[in-house]
């Protein structure tokens, strides 16, 4: 068809070996268009962009170590007597699942290491997804056109917690069994369908003999497949949008400033995979995680004190602990129309997590509605330059942390020798007050930092050099910033509140009034970036300023 395929056309001869390979691939599958698009694609660089990479890499490590574990793990709940090499449990009755987990730990060379790598990278996976989302939130990277990718990220967060929890329960040890018991209790509290759901999940009464096999299928097939799908979607959208960049000289919404993918960015990002793997390996080698042999097989009767769920389930467990079951003499659990409404379990299990994820998923649209900002944003906000958003984020974060801390209320009490009840009372109070305090403090801190930026932009940075003037006064010399550093401090927008506007019918409706109020709340406190005029005034000011000061000191002297 084309010129190259006719026999008499001169064949393309690549000059280098790399070129010949590229040509070979291109002539068969036509990869050069893709390479041309991506080979030198520019990626902005910032340390905070690495959290997402950590998440991706720990997922790869999870797939690798998890596949190894499946070769040895047997998810059966059939009863057996332990015959492996861990003496303290010899001949103890246990499930095959627990026994095979012990075998992986003690009788498969490198098995314990793989289990530890798997568990540590699972914890790291959820942690890096969470921190990555915080980064995206606080820098405003979720704004148009990235709202959908933010939602995909939220789904990934939920899936990563689901993957973690289903895996956590598989060894069928005492600790994870008690975790399942709690899940069972929470499920039973659901009105109407709770009891049935519990029976369907466990294949009958708790604990039954089905749950481990079912969780295993979810853990190794369904959940990872969904995660993989979401990751593909996520990265596809990153490519479509190109990466966001931090504000700075030379960066604007119309460009991307950074390093080309090949070779620098690819080398850094690729090398980083090995670094993440290395750090996980180090943790797996030296820090014990989930020593299931210490817990023993699951048995509904014993429980160890001071037990903790994996960190990412902590906030739900903490909420369960904070909720009082009885307020005064009033039982929170209610019986209406002959049926039980277990509000003391339902409310803490569903409401906080429900609020957190609802706000998380809808926030981009809420902010866009309030600000009516329909532009595309590719340059990030420094968190201080969006004080109200940063304050909202911190309020949510503190709320989460209060619940998370509550999951360790007993350990807080025993470590700091305080009353367990008092710890709970304080955390109950913080559950309500904490986010409010966090909001106010964060907003003030952000505004203060903006003022500091202004200060530095206009008057330079403090050098620590003290100069004595001829008349005896000491001043600290301020060094002016170069224009690049200054632009970083002044190159941001400071929108003012947007008053209510009439709609197409010329009417200002209630919703629009509400929006205007929220816009007021969002933007009324703000610090505008310094302007060239102000800078000029500040420079001029120094001259007159010194004169005034000099005059003053003469006056003082004349006393």
């Amino acid at each position: 068809m084309s010129a190259t395929s006719t026999p008499n056309a001169p064949a393309f001869v690549a000059k280098t070996k790399g070129g010949r390979i590229t040509n070979f691939v291109d002539e068969r599958v036509g990869g050069s268009g893709i390479l041309r698009e991506f080979g030198r694609k520019v990626f902005p660089d910032h340390w905070s962009f690495m959290f997402g990479e950590v998440a991706l890499y720990s997922f790869v490590i999870l797939l690798l170590s998890g596949t190894f574990l499946t070769f040895f793990f047997d998810p059966s709940m059939a009863e057996t007597r332990y015959a492996g090499s861990y003496t303290p449990l010899k001949n103890v009755e246990m499930s095959v699942a627990y026994s095979s987990s012990l075998d992986i730990s003690f009788d498969v060379r490198g098995g314990l290491f793989m289990r530890q790598v798997h568990h540590w990278s699972a914890l790291l996976f959820v942690a890096s997804v969470s921190v990555h989302m915080l980064r995206v939130f606080f820098t405003g990277a979720f704004r148009k056109p990235r709202e959908m990718n933010w939602v995909v990220g939220g789904v990934l967060l939920i899936l990563s917690m689901a993957a973690g929890f289903t895996g956590y329960s598989l060894p069928d040890d005492l600790l994870s069994g008690n975790g399942l018991r709690i899940i069972d209790g929470v499920i039973k509290s659901i009105p109407v369908i709770g009891t049935y759901t519990s029976f369907f999940l466990f294949g009958g009464e708790f604990p039954g003999t089905a749950i481990i096999g079912r969780l295993y299928m979810l853990h190794i097939l369904l959940v990872p497949a969904l995660i993989l799908l979401m990751i593909v979607l996520h990265l596809f959208m990153v490519v479509v949008h190109k990466h966001t960049q931090y504000p700075g000289p030379g960066r604007n919404d119309g460009n991307v400033v950074g390093y080309p993918l090949g070779p620098v960015y690819a080398a850094k990002a690729g090398g980083f995979f090995f670094i993440v793997f290395g750090v996980v390996a180090l943790m797996a080698g030296f820090f014990t995680i989930n020593p299931i042999w210490n817990y023993g097989p699951y048995d509904p009767s014993p429980v160890s004190a001071g037990t903790q769920p994996d960190w990412y389930i902590g906030f739900v467990d903490g909420a369960l602990r904070l909720m009082p079951g009885i307020i005064g003499d009033w039982k929170v659990e209610q019986i209406w129309f002959g049926h039980v409404f277990t509000f003391n379990v339902l409310l803490p299990a569903l409401v906080p997590a429900g609020i957190i994820f609802t706000v998380l998923f809808t926030y981009p649209w809420i902010e866009r509605w309030i600000t009516k900002d329909n532009r595309e944003h590719h340059v990030l906000d420094r968190p201080r330059n969006a004080p109200t958003r940063t304050a909202i984020g911190m309020a949510g974060f503190v709320w989460y942390c209060v619940m998370w801390a509550a999951a360790g209320s007993d350990l807080i009490a025993t470590h700091f020798h305080v009353s367990l009840n008092d710890v709970t009372y304080w955390l109950r109070a913080l559950f309500f007050v904490g986010p409010v305090i966090a909001f106010i403090v964060t907003k003030r801190v952000a505004l203060a930092l903006q003022r500091k930026d202004r200060e530095i932009a206009l008057h330079g940075r403090e050098t620590g050099r003290i100069v004595r003037l001829p008349h005896g006064e000491f001043i600290e010399v301020h060094a002016p910033l170069d224009e690049y550093k200054r632009y970083k401090l002044v190159g941001f927008e400071s929108p003012s509140p947007l008053p209510a506007e009439p709609n197409a019918h010329g009417v200002v409706d209630k919703k629009e009034k509400r929006r205007a109020k929220l816009s007021q709340w969002f933007f009324e406190d703000r610090v505008a970036p310094a302007t060239p005029a102000e800078l000029a005034a500040a420079h001029g000011h120094h001259g007159t300023h010194e004169a005034v000061e000099a005059g003053d000191s003469q006056k003082t002297l004349s006393h």
Binding site: F113, F202, G204, V257, P263, G285, G325, V345, D410, L458
Partner: protein, 356 residues
């Protein structure tokens, strides 16, 4: 202090406004000039960086060797000490860490020190073109129009109805995931079998407990007689039937009407399954007569028939009526008079049926 604050507040006390129009803004000075690294100008520095990268890759090789030696030299057998496994685990960790970190830090160092570090600027292309959008909107409109779905509501409505119902079989097909709950949750193994009362036995060995064994202040973890002999569903029964047995000074117990004969000489038995979400209430504070659940810290007062005095539980722990048989062993005179464990939708109905 003369240098301070031109961000002077005007109206709301915190607002510092300045002109927002382009003219008054600082102009973007562009990407800062590129600064050469030592390795760009000094061949010696470049050579040094090259050697460092090679050394890091070399460390990775050493790491791989450590891993292989640790894997093959340490064999796990029948009587491997825990210390050996720990040593092997640590060596595998060190080996992998060196192998990976060597490659990783080597590549990153290579990229940072030797590869070109010019920041470049690339134009962003619009995600879509206006032309495409117009075409796409038209195509969607055409498709909708050609289906005629707007003009034929009968088709639309029957389709919606069919699609809404079609997933039902997909739900129904999971019906065999588990049996119907019926009233299995309302009964435990404590119910007398063929008129014979069940003895209270020790958890886990199943030896019966004599009333005289239970001294004041002591506590026993109890399972019903015959539990250990079950072949199927042993854990299911245990998850409902476990009981805590304690003996207090009889005067400190205040049994309510109808429960006077549920204890024996200050010995009382309560379900060990928390009424919150079902953890075993395993901590007995002998001095205060409190029972504490280690999962969520629900606290029950033994002297008030295990009423909730703190924490997220809403209901008291169910009491197991006990007595002493002819041989002096403790027995349960009946099953619990209410379902044990966490609440569920039908629980109240079950409780009424039991007491009817």
């Amino acid at each position: 202090m003369g240098n301070h604050s031109d961000g002077s507040p005007n109206h709301s006390g915190t607002v510092a406004t300045a002109g927002q129009n382009e003219v008054e803004k600082f102009q973007d000075p562009g990407i800062p000039p590129h600064r050469l690294r030592l390795a760009d100008t000094d061949p010696k520095a470049a050579k040094r960086a090259e050697r460092q990268v090679a050394l890091l890759f070399g460390i990775s090789v050493v790491g791989t060797l450590i891993f292989l030696v640790a894997y093959f030299a340490i064999d796990l057998g029948e009587d491997t000490a825990i210390a050996t496994i720990r040593l092997q685990n640590a060596l595998l960790g060190i080996g992998t860490a060196f192998a990976m970190l060597g490659i990783g830090t080597g590549i990153v160092h290579w990229a940072k020190a030797l590869m070109p570090d010019h920041e470049v600027s690339e134009e962003r292309h619009a995600i879509r073109t206006e032309e495409d959008r117009l075409a796409a909107v038209r195509i969607v409109d055409d498709i909708v129009e050609e289906t005629g779905i707007k003009r034929r509501p009968l088709i639309r409505n029957t389709l919606l109805g069919a699609v809404a119902l079609a997933p039902l079989p997909a739900l129904a097909v999971f019906g065999d995931l588990g049996p119907r709950p019926d009233n299995t949750l309302a009964h435990t193994m404590w119910a007398p079998q063929d008129g014979k009362l069940k003895r209270l036995t020790r958890d886990p060995d199943g030896t019966p407990i004599k009333a005289s064994d239970v001294t004041i202040g002591s506590a026993f973890h109890v399972i019903p007689e015959g539990l250990n002999e079950l072949h199927e569903g042993k854990l299911n029964e245990k998850a409902k039937a476990v009981v805590l047995l304690m003996r207090l000074n009889p005067e400190s117990l205040n049994p309510s009407a109808g429960r006077e004969d549920w204890g024996y000489n200050g010995i009382v038995a309560y379900s060990k399954i928390c009424t919150h979400v079902g953890c075993p209430v395993a901590l007995y504070e002998q001095q205060t007569h409190h029972l504490l659940c280690p999962c969520h810290q629900s606290t029950f007062d033994l002297t008030q028939e295990c009423k909730v005095i703190f924490g997220p539980a809403s209901r008291p722990l169910p009491q197991l009526p006990i007595a002493v048989d002819a041989e002096g062993y403790l027995v349960a005179t009946s099953d619990f008079h209410e379902p044990v464990g966490p609440s569920y939708w039908e629980r109240d109905e079950h409780e009424r049926n039991i007491n009817a």
